[in-house]
Amino acid sequence: MSKTVDLSVELAGVRLKNPVLVASGTFGFGREYGEFYDLSELGGICAKGLTPARREGNPPPRIAETPMGILNSVGLQNPGVDAFIAHELPELRKHDLAVVANISGNTPEEYGEMCEKLSEAGVDLIEVNISCPNVKAGGLAYGTRPEMAAEVTQIAKHHASVPVMVKLSPNVTDVTEIARAVEGAGADAVSLINTLRGMRIDVNTHRPILKMNTGGLSGPAVLPVAVRMVWEVANAVKIPILGMGGVAKAEDAAQLMLAGATAVAVGTACFADPFTPIKVRDGLAALAETQGLERVSDLTGAVQPW
């Protein structure tokens, strides 16, 4: 790791020792990849999405590989917010990294209730998921309508005593409309992009691979969409952005930062190489050094559009 470049960034008032987090739903609660390396290497973790009560998720198959991507229809399988606070958060706290709790509710009140519990439990940041494509209620329904996105954000802010970041869906005509709505409702940051809705069909059986028929696309295939949307949102709002979507190497992360992201999250790439976040961090430092930057944060928003 470079000693000359300052890797630290500040996201919605939360100090991160480096700008590389891991994306919700791709890293569990850190236990599994924590067997490969110390989680303190990470800037932070967006933990697996939580709901008020335990959820078993969708029936299998839940995974379909696509060209440079995967479709998933996991459906928010999780042990529930109370189990996270009791069993997972204390484990994560043994390491030096920012803990971001990701929440999904069926009603605005459920978001509020979880925000209260998680704030009290002392997470660093709450990521409000209004963009899960794999559940019927809540989720994406909140993320595609500006007024509903604003309502959820307002309630989350009212009940949270830690910063609130809203995770935006790319499955909308104009992402800036939603971004502006949640900024107006008090969001401290936005994260994007969630997965893009997609489908894959087995031509021999004429059946979709996923039991839910459709799922969310992630992986390197979605990077250009993420870069474009981060750029659009960065031009539309003043709050900081956690950029994600297809990051597999330092140059990908640098693109998201140049487009306007303050920090980035690595997701699907960990499935191929668990060490990706560390490699991205070190690669970002090297890239910043090569370009003569003192701080990696100098990359943020530094794109020079034509």
Binding site: Y33, K48, I63, P220
Partner: protein
């Protein structure tokens, strides 16, 4: 604890039209990480594919300078086609050991019931219980058979079955299993691996004779370590478990066979 390991292919053999057997030099995955047959390795298959491919371990043996691990796989798609094209001397990037493997000991008297590409993971259990166990191996036809001599050497009895009658008993493995259990049901356990409908029939048969049954399941998998929750299987109690972390081996009574 799983690690990332660069393995050298020591030998690469073709077993039939679709199946390949590789022996890998696998660092100290056996001696230090406790890798054993029935667990799996998550193997990077070329540059162009995003996901690794989970391949079960047939035999795992501590050795010097490196432990030796045998994997057997069938060409199912792009990833395994790439893998099949590797030659001795080439290197593979693997994550492992992953998954739980079968619960059994060297003194156990096992009934090993395998179908198709479900046969290889049972070989290690035949080796572990050398001379005590009985194997029932089913294949679509004689041309698709594999590892027959390996099992014959290690098992007390070997029964072959084929769907078309071109090899051994003409019928399904659970029918042969039933015949065997009718004569003698004094087995420690039935261990089975193969397609899900076969496993269901094997589990029902074992249950009927009161013999504990462990099954090794498959599901489309992404991370292989338990982080993404992709490879879910439904349990009889309504919960979801995951092939990569909770399995691939499950107690047959845990599994919801009706989905």
């Amino acid at each position: 604890m799983p690690v990332e390991q660069i393995c050298t292919i020591v030998s690469a053999d073709r077993l039939n039209e679709f199946a390949y057997s590789f022996t890998l030099e696998a660092g100290k995955l056996v001696e230090q990480q406790g890798l054993r047959a029935g667990q799996f390795l998550h193997i990077q298959c070329g540059e162009g594919l995003l996901l690794r491919r989970p391949i079960s371990v047939s035999l795992a043996q501590a050795d010097d300078p490196e432990d030796l691990v045998r994997i057997v796989f069938e060409v199912r798609g792009e990833g395994t086609r790439w893998l099949a094209g590797r030659r001795a001397g080439e290197k593979l990037n693997v994550l492992g050991p992953l998954g739980n493997g079968f619960a059994c000991g060297p003194k156990d008297r096992l009934l090993l019931v395998g179908g198709g590409i479900g046969v290889p993971p049972l070989l290690g259990q035949a080796a572990l219980t050398w001379g005590h166990s009985t194997a029932v191996l089913g294949f679509r036809c004689a041309e698709r058979a594999m590892l027959v001599e390996d099992f014959r050497e290690k098992c007390r009895e070997l029964h072959l079955c084929s769907d078309d009658g071109s090899l051994g008993f003409h019928g399904f493995v659970h029918q042969k299993l039933e015949q065997l259990l009718e004569k003698d049901a004094d087995y420690t356990a039935v261990l089975s691996c193969g397609p899900k409908p076969m496993l269901r029939s094997v589990a029902e048969t074992a249950e009927r004779f009161g013999v504990p049954c462990q099954v090794s399941l498959e599901e489309r998998m992404a991370c292989g370590v338990g982080a993404c929750l992709g490879c879910a299987v439904q349990m009889a109690d309504g919960t979801m478990k995951h092939v990569c972390k909770d399995g691939p081996v499950f107690d047959a009574r845990e599994v919801d066979w009706n989905v």
